[in-house]
Amino acid sequence: MSKRLKIEPLVPMLGLATLLLAGASLLAGPVYLTPSEIVNGLGGSDPSLAIIVRDLRLPRLVLSIGVGGILGLCGAAAQSLTRNPLAEPAVFGTPQAAAFGAVAVLYSGSASAVSLLLPVAAISAALVSLAAIFWLLRTNSNIVSLLLVGLGIGSLAGAATSLVISFSSNPYAIMEIVFWLMGSFEDRSFQHVLLAYPFFIICALLLFPCGRGYQALTLGEDVAWSLGVNVRRLALVTVLGIAMGVGAGVAVCGAIGFVGLVAPHLVRPFCNGEPARLLLPSMLAGAILTTMADIAVRLLPATSEVRVGVLTAFIGVPFFIYLVKNNDGFSGTRSQ
């Protein structure tokens, strides 16, 4: 049992790392602040500090933690449900559908007029994309069929997004769409936080209780059924949770790839491979990844900010490859 005891502090350690990064995220940027300046800014005693801390950095921080956390959680749920280490939230097609909803609004040019129209369209598109999956799950609980339908929806949404881009005659609109698709936490306000967080909370409330079902699915669908898990309902709740969480994340911050795939892998070796114990650490690892990436994009010298979606890949991939190389059993594919 000694090894088990060694890995238990994982969650507090990840929590502490998230808090430290949150502090760093408030301190760092084009203007470096001291901790006392942050307190003054939060208190509102200095108007210019208040603008930097309360209006610029705080919503950005809250969103990067929320979006990263949800991506990590949804990635762990997607991998556990499909029992596939290659899975990520995008395998169900909902992020692509959300991106299409947002791009359609950007194309129509109404995004700036009603700033909330874009996220609302993105979340709506994500939920609509579930229709095909729900129709499938009425009669079929086979996870492979679910994956195939999800991939189909993702491809369709991707094609629709390309169609909108190719129809766009305005080069400025195309640039806006392309940059938006890369994902960013820049210039986000508490309005975005208020819009996305209720969905994040519903997503977490839906996915955390699924841990027991994911645990049973380790031994396959038949055994899960025999252990009293309704696999069909488990799939439905998982896909709904992912659509709400990731849909809302894409809606407010654009498409941030890779976090959903890599976050579960970063923590799986410390969770003994157990899907139920993976959810919370994976959520924290996702939050850490995006917050680190968001700090880095502000510090890199560039004429315009490097997009956070680019940075998550640059930070995550080398570590990811190192882990895969040094731990051949961690993705469930260890050779004999």
């Binding site: 029992r83 027991r212 380790t218 031994l219 396959g220 025999s226 252990l227 469930g332």
Partner: protein, 270 residues
Amino acid sequence: MKEAAIVQPGSGHDLLSCRDLSVRIDGQDILQRCCLSVGNGELIALIGPNGAGKTTLLRCVAGAMDYSGSLSCSGKDIRAVSPGDRAALIGYLPQNGQIHWPMRVRDVVALGRLPFGKHAQPRNLGKDDPVTRIMRDCGVDHLSRRIANTLSGGERARVLLARAMATQASVLLADEPLASLDPRHQLSTMEALRHYASTGRSVVAVLHDIGMAIRFADRVVVMQNGRIAGTGSGKDLLQCGLLEDVFRVRLEPFFDENGRLASLALGNRS
């Protein structure tokens, strides 16, 4: 069919009772009006040629498949029981079971306790918690700390059997528990199943080794083309020639001085 060997099901106090169980997929009858009753303490061997419907029958009983007909366990209609309660009544070991994540063997076995509590991970409970005891009974306690997907095929099969036994369900359904086991572990596994049944539960095991089925099972149920072709003691089924008809092989039994089956020679039918 040789009627002499058929014992009518449904008598006495049955732990598990299937009546007219049928499954039809894409216009093809996979199971046709199967009736089977399993009594308290019984070890039943389910045998039959490939494609006879043995696995389908087990999957229906395990709740992994839809069926028509009726199925009751401990006198309760299984459709009226909640999934959690059904898990306490019926345990299931599928054939060629997989372990999809690199979990420790002990945690895999503990999955059998899942229906009975939060994540059902009894930790540090000493030597008498059900998981430790069952791992000892199945001879896999020395593998406890190994990563499950680094085990050999035979070791994995024994770990998965221990997982199914850890449910302590009233009826244990085991689909080919002897496949991939060496002869010594085939014997010890049959003894473990025998022991499981002797504790007031029952076991239905799909077997391909007719000799093992006859030696260890209280009753042998023979399936063919989605139907139950006969039920009876192994010796009766051998004597009436049903096994030879169903498997289309020649069987030559050798009995020891106590009249127990010592070995069974197989040959092609001329």
